[in-house]
């Protein structure tokens, strides 16, 4: 559970990484911090507290669980020697005892924790079909981090609520600015597109994507501006024949969408910068929860059949007609 880094173990002060922010991790962190160590408390979920926070009584004394836990939560949150790293996972540990180097991957969030004042207004807005409602102060709340991205229609109401409460430094800027600013009359929201797409049959979906992808001018903007894109990893240029316009659909777009789907923060930047106005976020949303077979009648592992199907769906440029 405990890893040390920095000075050799004989030195009185060092840094400790505590993995897991349940009650055991919290207690360990507090003890180490009191002993003069700098503690990084890493928690995979959005907040520390773990399972104990959802228990009523503890065994065998029947004490109130929150009565034991809450002072520790506050202590851990305020302790000058403890740095909380929540909503993040440990990826790699290198080195030896006393000199560990760790690599931590933060999961994307919608809220800038440095700016968030904790007012909670974002969570009070009416979110259609929410994943889980929590009662709080007599109202039904939705935990922003638990929103099911596919169900989220990107209405932008939570962002507007945040801006209203906190106009100088809104903590949520991440929902599609076009919708949150209502700047684009006539444009459908990604949510509406997504709902319709789910109700379409295969042919309808293909027609939808073919229509939109034929407008791509291959600027690579969707990839280049994505905040989670890591250079050298997403090689969408290798999925389309060089020099061809529009790029080979849907491979070019799917390559990016599948690469990014698991980490997409839903910022909508890709769609904002797309000069061809492709519904790119809708695509990322879709691939996140559906495999290519459902989306494009594409059968992974069956190249020949897949190839035939893809060709039917996305024929090469039509034959020249009426030539001189």
């Amino acid at each position: 559970m405990i890893a040390k880094s920095g000075e050799p173990s004989s030195a009185p002060v060092g840094a400790v990484l505590v993995l897991g922010g349940g009650v055991a991790g919290i207690q360990a962190a507090l003890d180490l911090a009191e002993a003069g160590q700098k503690v990084y408390l890493l928690e995979s979920r959005a907040s520390i507290g773990g399972t104990m926070a959802s228990l009523d009584k503890t065994f065998p004394t029947n004490d109130c669980a929150m009565c034991i836990l809450s002072p520790k939560l506050v202590q851990a949150g305020r302790h000058l020697n403890i740095e909380l790293i929540t909503y993040a996972d440990l990826e790699k540990v290198e080195g030896e005892a006393g000199r560990f180097r760790v690599r931590i991957k933060r999961k994307p969030r919608y809220v800038d924790p440095a700016k968030c004042t904790g007012c909670g207004d974002c969570a009070t807005v009416d979110v259609p079909d929410p994943a889980e409602l929590v009662e709080h102060r007599g109202e039904l709340w939705i935990r922003r981090l638990d929103i099911d991205e596919v169900k989220c229609t990107q209405c932008g109401d939570c962002v507007r609520a945040c801006r209203k409460e906190n106009p100088e430094a809104p903590a949520m800027g991440s929902v599609h600015h076009r919708q949150s600013e209502e700047a684009q009359p006539g444009r459908r929201t990604a949510g509406a597109d997504l709902r319709d797409l789910r109700n379409m049959d295969g042919a309808g979906r293909l027609a939808y994507w073919r229509r939109h992808m034929s407008r791509c001018i291959k600027c690579y903007g969707c990839r280049d501006v994505c905040p989670v894109f890591v250079e050298s990893e997403c090689r969408m240029e290798e999925w389309a024949r060089p020099g061809r316009l529009p790029p080979d659909a849907p491979l070019y777009h799917l390559a990016r969408a599948y690469y990014i789907a698991a980490r997409c923060t839903h910022c909508g930047y890709c769609e904002d910068v797309c000069p061809g106005d492709l519904p790119l976020r809708t695509l990322v949303d879709l691939v996140r929860h559906a495999d290519p077979g459902d989306l494009f009648e594409f059968v992974p592992g069956l190249p020949a059949a897949a190839g035939r199907r893809m060709r039917r769906a996305f024929p090469l440029p039509k034959k020249a007609e009426g030539t001189a």
Binding site: P242, G276, P317
Partner: protein, 681 residues
């Protein structure tokens, strides 16, 4: 080390997209979108997205070079400028007209203005021109005759709202990507899209009506359009009566071009022609977009006049979402023309031959100005080859790759006494120079560009110049001072713009302060209170009444024969810009299109036993190049297409120098060639 975001304007095409250049520690590291930009709205094409990559190329020119003993030797600025000034003043004292200057559509308005001032006020010649000669000289001549002003009549955002868009001779999505996407946006909104082009393009795949004419037969189909419109009584009689003249002659001529006859000339089926003409005429607002496919012909001016006829016939001029819209290629080709880097006009198209204009500029510059219009770019090359022109000063152009008949250009430049090239890279032209002066790119200087819809856009200095390179306006200013001029005491480009505003009525209200405040006014903008002009010719044409021209079809200068049986046309691709000096230094663009190629139809390829990817020889009456073949149905049978970006397989070795009689534009789009495979032999 926090990044700085500098809002500037794309250095590639005439759309004029704005973006932020992101600078960290004195290096441009990326391009960030600007959502409030009027043209780009945050989107950019692949070139704009990579506009930071060539800036820090290792092979940027950093020090002045002087040719000594056959090679280049590094020199100080004083040495180089003294050398140039010495030679130029010697030649000037014999004959000022033995000097020719090429200005640049890549440089700012301020620099173009200084260049033409240098030519006229200091050297005393009107021999100043730039590459607009190769693209839209026929537009300037043709539209000036028809409307009185040779620029795009309407603005870019209007494209998305038109009811019908007729695109001809423009591969809009590849050449003007952010205008192309607006055409697609209009299509999504339900507009009718008509594309007339010999070559299949991405845009033609979206067209409702796609007509493929034989290259060089545009006047014929345009006349046939008008024939159908008049015959079916779809013309706008009120507009014609109130706003135009010359209708009767034009109508009589169009009467001789029924669709059947045009079909024979152009190869477009008569029924399709008539259907397209009806769709255009019936639309509430119909816009015409055209580009090199109309202008780069020996009949270029005629083509442009015919396009203007068509728009006036249906009343589609002087209102929103309509008009005649030549898409200007270079980022600042509109500005370079506006600034008078042309042999016959001062800034704002004030004619050199007009004594009042000459007197006005003479007073402003305190100089005696030459009255005879100067030589055009192609004429300068002829004069150089013939020995009449002794010195050339070329700023930011690469005629060795961009001009027709490269072998001839090489001979012409080789016979000069003095060739000065001011550029950012050692281009094919700079390699021939006696003196090479290192200029700077868009990111290293202040100034303005004027994009294709006449908006004046800011260019801001984000970086220091590499090595000892200097901003182009400083180089011209310092050279002018050395040549003894007292009228070049500018401290900054803003001061130059103030002079431009004072001497140029259409730029009268433009100043750097306004651009700093976030405005991008489109000319005409006569004074500081004017917000600029969204579309031209609103209640009255610039020349008073719009003039119809009766234009007969003339076959292209070069016809195919048994020896040269194929028609070659040239053009660009999405992935490179012009002669490639900048874009070929950008990794992703080279990944997309690394080398030149010739597109050839499968039937032609089959006959010549050429397979996709083979190296073939393409020969015209002027030269021969080896190039890879791309077998594709995007070109019609009998026609081949070569992009002209690539110096090692330069399309312009093959092209024809024959000129349009009025505008002196060469017929780059049509020349007869022979293609030979290497397998059959």
């Amino acid at each position: 080390m926090s990044p700085a975001f500098i809002l500037t304007t794309c250095p590639f095409c005439g759309c004029g997209c704005g973006f932020y250049l992101v600078v960290v520690n004195g290096r441009a590291v990326s391009v960030a979108p600007c959502f409030s930009d009027r043209v780009s709205r945050g989107g950019l094409c692949i070139k704009g997205r990579r506009a930071h990559e060539f800036i820090h190329s290792k092979d940027r020119l950093r020090v002045p070079l002087i040719r000594r003993n056959g090679g280049f030797a590094e020199a100080t600025w004083d040495e180089a400028l003294d050398f140039v000034a010495g030679k130029l003043s010697a030649i000037r004292s014999v004959s000022p007209d033995a000097v020719g200057l090429l200005s640049s559509a890549k440089c700012t308005n301020e620099e173009n203005y200084l260049m033409m001032k240098l030519a006229r006020a200091v050297i005393g010649t009107n021999n100043v021109d730039h590459c607009a000669r190769l693209c839209h000289a026929s537009t300037v001549a043709g539209l000036a005759a028809a409307f009185g002003s040779g620029a795009m009549t309407n603005s870019i955002p209007e494209v998305a709202e038109a009811d019908c868009i007729l695109v001809t001779g423009s591969n809009t999505i590849e050449q003007h990507p952010l205008i192309g996407t607006r055409v697609l946006e209009a299509k999504e909104r339900g507009a009718t899209l008509i594309v007339v082009d010999p070559r299949e393009t991405m845009l033609s795949d979206h067209a409702d009506i796609f007509l493929r004419q034989r290259p060089g037969t545009d006047v014929a189909w345009l006349n046939a359009f008008m024939n159908v419109i008049i015959a079916e009584d779809l013309h706008d009689k009120t507009f014609i009566a109130e706003r135009t003249e010359g209708f009767e002659e034009m109508a009589a001529l169009a009467g001789r071009y029924p669709p059947g006859r045009a079909a024979e000339i152009t190869g477009i089926p008569a029924g399709d022609l008539a259907a397209a003409a009806r769709a255009y005429a019936r639309a509430g607002s119909a816009m015409i977009l055209y580009s090199m496919g109309i202008t780069q012909h020996t009949s270029g001016t005629d083509n442009v006049k015919s396009v203007a006829n068509l728009a006036m016939l249906t009343g589609n001029v002087g209102k929103a979402c309509s008009g005649v819209n030549p898409l200007r290629g270079q980022n600042n080709v509109q500005g370079a023309c506006d600034m008078g880097a042309l042999p016959n006009v001062y800034s704002g198209y004030q004619r050199v031959a007009d004594p009042a204009a000459r007197a006005k500029f003479g007073r402003a510059w305190n100089a005696e100005l030459p009255e005879r219009p100067g030589l055009t770019l192609c004429e300068m090359m002829e004069a150089a080859a013939a020995g009449a022109l002794r010195a050339m000063y070329i700023m930011g152009e690469n005629p060795m790759v961009s001009d027709p008949d490269s072998n001839h250009v090489r001979r012409a430049l080789g016979s000069l006494d003095l060739l000065v090239v001011q550029d950012i890279f050692m281009s094919e032209t700079a390699a021939l120079a006696h003196v090479v002066l290192p200029g700077v790119c868009y990111a290293e200087k202040d100034g303005t560009f004027t994009n294709t819809d006449r908006s004046v856009l800011p260019v801001r200095k984000a970086l220091d110049a590499p090595g000892e390179a200097r901003a182009d306006w400083e180089i011209i200013r310092d050279l002018a001072r050395r040549l003894g001029s007292g009228a070049f005491s500018y401290a900054s480009p803003a001061a130059v713009m103030d002079e431009i505003a004072a001497t140029t009525p259409s730029y009268g209200g433009i100043s750097h302060a306004r651009l700093e405040a976030g405005e991008t006014p489109a000319w005409p903008c006569p004074d500081a209170r004017s917000a600029g002009t969204q579309f031209l010719h609103k209640d009255r044409f610039a020349r008073g009444r719009g003039l119809f021209h009766a234009v007969e079809y003339r076959p292209p200068a070069e016809e195919t024969d048994a020896e040269y049986p194929l028609i070659m046309t040239t053009g660009r691709t999405m992935f490179h810009y012009h002669t490639g000096t900048m874009t070929r230094r950008i990794g992703l663009l080279n990944h997309e299109v690394p080398a030149g190629y010739v597109e050839i139809h499968p039937l032609d390829a089959g006959r010549l036993k050429i397979a996709d990817g083979d190296t073939v020889d393409v020969a015209s009456r002027r030269g021969e190049i080896a190039i890879a073949a791309q077998v594709t149905e995007r070109v019609p049978e009998g026609t081949v297409f070569i992009p002209f970006h690539f110096a090692e397989a330069a399309a312009n070795v093959l092209t024809n120098r024959a000129l349009d009689p009025e505008a002196k534009i060469p017929g780059l789009k049509v020349c007869a060639v022979r293609v030979t495979g290497r397998n059959g032999r």
